[in-house]
């Protein structure tokens, strides 16, 4: 691990989601030396947790497969997982980046045979499923996980279970003595592709996400559809495991709102439109989706998608910011509000509520050890003064996958410009 070679012509990409992988691959496939750092034990970021993409309704793992193959075949690209940037110093063309590595306790000898997991019993909340399900303390994070290596939860270290897992491994892949370490890497340019986190729906008190089991958020809803997910791909609601057929989607849950996120998160309208089609996919005309919205922002060619959803008889639209959610005696969420198109008051009962929560940057860039331009919403702004530090994807603004990939490709160019200048100098 410590043998990573980096020079001031190296590009460091921080974050191994779709944007980071793209930025790293585009630069590496142009012949640049790239190091890709990822905080989680696997690449792919949030898109790996999605069931389908809009507008094609195709599966994110499909592109993920291609990207992972590109990574496996590319010798210019080094991937380091469980790695976080702890310090950056220097300037454009000459950065020193300190990277803290947390132990995986499993080395590259791992063949993913799964014997270690068989020896483990304790279960923990499964982050990959947004804690909707459980996983063992010795686990492969997901079916597509790259690197394809198991992980041992740090909470198991020092327990007999960890020893049992080690004993079960025939390949010497488990090293329970791994320690956190910090390495220093040189770089000419650093690309932050640190992505986003869903806005904390607990803060949106009128919707009762913290109080009502059948109020979930849009990323959790994705996990219910995934055949690898906690319900095996069934739309079962959390309170009683009943099939949810009548689903409400509340737009701008935490976005466009000075009480929460001031900005429009851009992707959530399309995400909910897409998710209505999950309901239709499951139940046909027996399903019912209702979108409560302020403005439907299906911009550019996504308008076609919106039009198709409007034509779906199981989907209806109510122009309203829902005032509050209550729960009836059967655990059904009841939505209260006013349809502002003509003033119609409603109290609508649904099986499940999906909050279209927005995006906020997953990293507090203002807290970085090196000063860069960050806007009021917390996103990195492009500024000459940022030197050789660039944002890719959602680190720069709320956007959808397609745009994030475009943006990341552009960010790769910015980084390439820097290292080419270093090489030419």
């Amino acid at each position: 691990m410590t043998a990573v070679v980096a020079t001031n012509q190296t590009i460091i990409v921080v974050g191994g989601g779709i944007s980071g992988m793209t930025a790293a691959l585009e630069a590496a496939e142009t012949g640049k030396q790239v190091i890709l750092l990822e905080k989680r034990p696997y690449l792919g970021g949030r898109v790996t947790q999605l069931y389908k993409y809009f507008p094609k309704m195709c599966h994110p793992t499909c592109g993920q497969e291609i990207n992972q193959r590109r990574i496996k075949m590319n010798k210019n690209l080094t991937v380091i997982t469980q790695a976080e940037v702890s310090n950056i110093s220097g300037g454009k063309g000459d950065y020193t980046v300190s990277v803290t590595l947390t132990p995986r306790y499993v080395n590259s000898n791992c063949t993913a045979c799964g014997d270690c997991a068989k020896a483990a019993t304790t279960e923990f909340d499964d982050e990959f499923n947004y804690n909707l399900g459980k996983r063992k303390g010795v686990y492969l994070p997901n079916a597509m996980a790259f690197p394809q290596q198991y992980v041992i939860d740090a909470r198991l270290i020092g327990t007999p279970e960890a020893d049992a897992a080690k004993a079960a491994c025939k390949y010497g892949a488990i090293d329970l003595d791994e320690k956190e370490e910090t390495i220093e890497l040189k770089a000419g340019a650093v690309v932050f592709a640190t992505g986003w986190k869903p806005y904390d729906a607990n803060k949106i008190q009128p919707y009762g996400y913290d109080r009502f089991a059948n109020v979930i958020n849009n990323v959790e809803f994705e996990r219910l559809m995934d055949p690898h997910g906690p319900t095996g791909g069934k739309l079962l609601r959390p309170s009683d495991g009943k099939e949810a057929k009548n689903i409400a989607f509340i737009q701008c849950a935490g976005s466009r709102d000075r009480n929460y996120l001031k900005h429009c998160s851009r992707f959530c309208c399309m995400a909910s439109l897409k998710q209505t089609q999950y309901v239709t996919e499951k139940y046909g005309t027996d399903g019912k989706s209702t979108i409560y919205y302020i403005d439907i922002r299906s911009i550019d060619r996504f308008e076609d998608f919106y039009r198709n959803v409007q034509a779906d008889p199981s989907v209806s639209f109510i122009k309203s910011k829902v005032a509050k959610v209550e729960q009836d005696k059967d655990g059904n969420p009841v939505l209260h509000g006013v349809n502002t198109e003509g003033y119609h008051r409603y109290a609508n009962t649904h099986d499940l509520v999906v909050l279209a929560t927005g995006m906020e940057p997953s990293v507090d860039f203002k807290g970085l050890p090196i000063k860069i331009a960050v806007n009021e919403e917390g996103f990195i702004e492009h500024d000459e003064a940022n030197g050789g530090i660039f944002a890719a994807g959602v680190a720069a603004d709320a956007m959808d996958v397609n745009r994030a990939v475009q943006h990341a490709t552009a960010a790769a160019l910015r980084a390439v410009q820097v290292v080419n200048q270093v090489a030419g100098a």
Binding site: T30, C62, I66, R266, D300, F302, D304, Q406, H407
Partner: protein, 738 residues
């Protein structure tokens, strides 16, 4: 020349299978040089063992490998031996993980493993080491078509990265539409006020940059060649043409504003006081920061903006799409008025207000703060009464038909891409009586498939891929800006940078003969045996990437740097003369023939499964990781794309006693998921015709099934295979067993 076999006994392979007998199968039947076993082949020691054999001298030197271990998706880096032809025999995910334990299954499981070893040995014998394409050349010069803000950004950014750029601009000036604007949307926090367009500074920077050449009054008269060696004729309307060579192309030809004359309901053309957004920009520019005046010289006091004018509409002659920028543009333009005089009435009539992101929402709020009035309303007509106007609309909030007076109405009309000729348009347009103005080509590509890049929907030249937005179907040619998708200037500039990145990458890769996405790094390329070719042109027609031209006699002419190495041409060829060195009719044909077919009475059918390596094969792989059981009678061969499947394989399989064939490719059609665009579709078309073959062989048509399989179909994919087993149970074993 020696083939080395390496059998891993780890991960349960040794426990579940009789590896001694497998070794014998490899050496005796597979007839390879030797077969070594290792209990942990992917370990450093195992890999070192293989490397030592590859490095050996003389008779001991191994030149081809058969790795009998896990799936090709596992331990890929460990078993990556560069160009050395390598067969990966999948005993773990392909056999032991999908078969139940127990003595009653042992025999069939062992047979499965033995067959896969035979197949691997046969495959590797038919493989040859791939060498880089012969047509290499490095040209650091990017042609940029279009001198608007997208094109200029592309040129400047390319130069910053050390590359040369030539801008081909058809008009007599740089700047494009942005150059006609008074101001642009704010690009930086707090996103409250319109800002200078920066076009003048940009033009100055372009002119001062010695890596950038500008051709004004010019068009591309002809583009031939391939990435790394595009040969372009630049025609000038004012002087002599030029001939130039480029390594890659960025097409930034922008958009044409929708013709508001199609909107008589809004009195456009009838009243001079109904203008488009672009026309308002000219008025604002003329006014500077002073009062904006109408055509009759009167200062505007009361302006109404009509959003979605002729767009987001299914009416004949309207645009169905949303042009994305127009809400923010009206917000900005309303500010032109408010900033010059807060007493001017400005009303924006919209349906959905679309001002996304951090910038958009702040800009919207800022306009409200400046007292711009927003009303959710649908405008039906604009009536001209003398010099003043009456805007009739339905207020959607107050739910009433109403009207407003205005002295100026601004129509937010949409963007229409300048994407050149729609090469996929049905040719019989003229037949249905419509007289169409012929669209001028932008690139004049001398390609078999037509003169311009393919269009996606609504005439935009976008990529279909969400994960890979720059995958236009013409390698080395990237579109950027509103020609691709409706967008505003800020996005177009980001897009220009992305396109330049891909253009630079195309230059670098074509220089060393490597494939572009998605098989990036692949050095193999297709070639054909001229003696056998019947000049049927199927390969040239079916190539999704326009890589193959035809010579004057109708023989295919390959342009390797344009090729994506999918093998669709190989699948198309009726006489099987097209092949890659490491992937050919033989590599697959030999595998399926290597399978031992038990006799008719054995109750052991054989099912050939041809699975797309991008989605179907990973789906089967992940099904195995979940230990989903599959039939013991399947024999899976991954293919680069189902489009590379040649019908001869099906015929050979059925002729040699297979009982069924299952083909698994990606989704086709409008929302295709095939990474090679048309591959899966072509395979479906070809297989639709295989019925004839089956009936001449007197075989039931159900014996061949073609499925669309997604990478997530971990439960469904094994079930589809079970279905074939049931079919065979029903229709019986094949009579072609010898």
């Amino acid at each position: 020349m020696k083939i080395g076999g390496y059998l891993c006994t780890g991960c349960g392979i040794g426990d579940r299978l009789d590896t001694k007998s497998l070794e014998t199968v490899a050496v005796r039947e597979g007839r390879i040089g030797f077969c070594k076993t290792h209990d942990f082949l992917c370990s450093q020691a195992g890999v070192d063992m293989i490397n030592a054999d590859l490095a050996a001298e003389g008779d001991d030197k191994v030149t081809k490998l058969v790795i009998m271990a896990c799936s090709r998706r596992a331990k890929t880096e460990a078993f990556n031996f560069g160009a050395v032809p390598t067969a990966r025999v999948n005993l773990r995910e392909g056999v032991i993980w999908i078969r139940p334990e127990g003595s009653e299954h042992e025999e069939t499981t062992q047979e499965m493993a033995a067959d896969y070893i035979r197949m691997g040995c046969a495959e590797v014998k038919a493989m040859h080491q791939a060498d880089a394409s012969g047509e290499q050349g490095k040209n650091n010069h990017i042609m940029i078509v279009g001198g608007g803000v997208t094109g200029m950004t592309a040129a400047l950014e390319a130069s910053k990265a050390g590359y040369y750029a030539s801008i081909i601009e058809k008009s007599d000036r740089l700047g494009g539409v942005m150059g006609q604007l008074h101001k642009r949307h704010p690009l930086r926090s707090p996103y409250q006020h319109p800002q200078d367009t920066g076009v003048a500074a940009m033009i100055a920077a372009v002119e001062a940059d010695d890596k950038i050449t500008v051709y004004l009054n010019s068009k591309v008269a002809s583009t031939s060649g391939a990435p790394g060696r595009f040969n372009v004729t630049i025609a000038s309307s004012v002087g002599a043409g030029t001939q130039a060579e480029f390594g890659a192309i960025v097409q930034a030809t922008g958009f044409t504003p929708y013709d508001a004359n199609n909107l008589p309901e809004f009195s456009y053309g009838k009243s001079a006081n109904v203008v488009t957004q672009l026309e308002l920009e000219a008025m604002a520019q003329a006014a500077g920061d002073g009062a904006i005046k109408r055509a009759d010289g009167k200062e505007v006091k009361n302006v109404v903006f009509v959003q979605c004018a002729g767009q987001r509409s299914e009416k004949e002659g309207h645009l169905s799409w949303c042009s994305g920028h127009c809400c923010s543009t009206s917000v900005k333009q309303a500010m032109y008025f408010k900033d010059s005089n807060p007493e001017i009435e400005t009303t924006i009539l919209f349906d959905d207000l679309r001002t996304p992101g951090a910038g958009g929402e702040n800009f919207y709020r800022s306009a409200q703060d400046k007292m711009v009035t927003f009303r959710k309303g649908k405008v039906s007509t604009v009536e001209a009464a003398g010099s003043d106007l009456k805007v009739n609309f339905k207020d959607l909030i107050l739910n009433e038909d109403t009207h407003m007076e205005a002295d100026l109405v601004v129509l937010a009309t949409g963007m229409m891409p300048n994407a050149g000729v729609n090469i996929d348009a049905p040719k019989d347009d003229a037949a249905n009586g419509e007289v169409k103005v012929p669209v001028e080509s932008i690139l004049n590509l001398q390609y078999r498939q037509g003169p311009d890049v393919p269009q996606l929907v609504n005439g935009f030249a976008d990529s279909h891929f969400i994960c890979f937005p720059y995958e236009t179907r013409r390698t080395g040619i990237y579109t950027a800006g509103p020609v691709r998708r409706p967008m505003d200037g800020g996005q177009a500039q980001t897009d220009a940078m992305g396109a330049v990145m891909k253009a630079i990458q195309a230059i670098e890769n074509s220089a060393i003969g490597r494939a572009a996405h998605p098989r990036s790094g692949d050095l193999s390329f297709p070639s054909f045996r001229k003696e056998g070719c019947t000049q049927c042109k199927r390969c040239t027609v079916e190539c999704p990437f326009g890589a193959i031209n035809e010579d004057e006699k109708g023989y295919p002419q390959y342009n390797e740097a344009r090729c994506r190495r999918c093998g669709t041409c190989m699948g198309a060829c009726p006489v099987q003369v097209i092949s890659f060195k490491n992937y050919s009719i033989e590599t697959v044909g030999a595998q399926l023939k290597a399978v031992e077919v038990p006799d008719e009475y054995s109750e052991k059918p054989r099912i050939l499964v041809l699975a797309c390596e991008n989605d179907a094969y990973p789906a089967l792989d992940m099904a195995a990781m979940k230990r989903n059981e599959s039939s013991a009678f399947i024999r899976v061969i991954p293919v680069r794309c189902l489009g590379s499947t040649n019908t001869i394989w099906i015929k050979d399989a059925l002729g040699s006693g297979y009982d069924g064939v299952v083909m698994m490719g990606c989704k086709k059609g409008v929302d295709y998921q095939c990474h090679f665009v048309k591959g899966s579709e072509m395979a479906h078309v070809r297989m639709a015709k295989i019925g004839d073959t089956l009936s001449t062989m007197n075989l039931e048509s159900e014996r061949v099934a073609v499925h669309e399989v997604a990478i997530t179909d971990i439960d469904r994919a094994p079930k589809l295979l079970d279905e074939m087993v049931e079919v065979i149970n029903r229709v019986g074993m094949s009579p072609f067993k010898f």
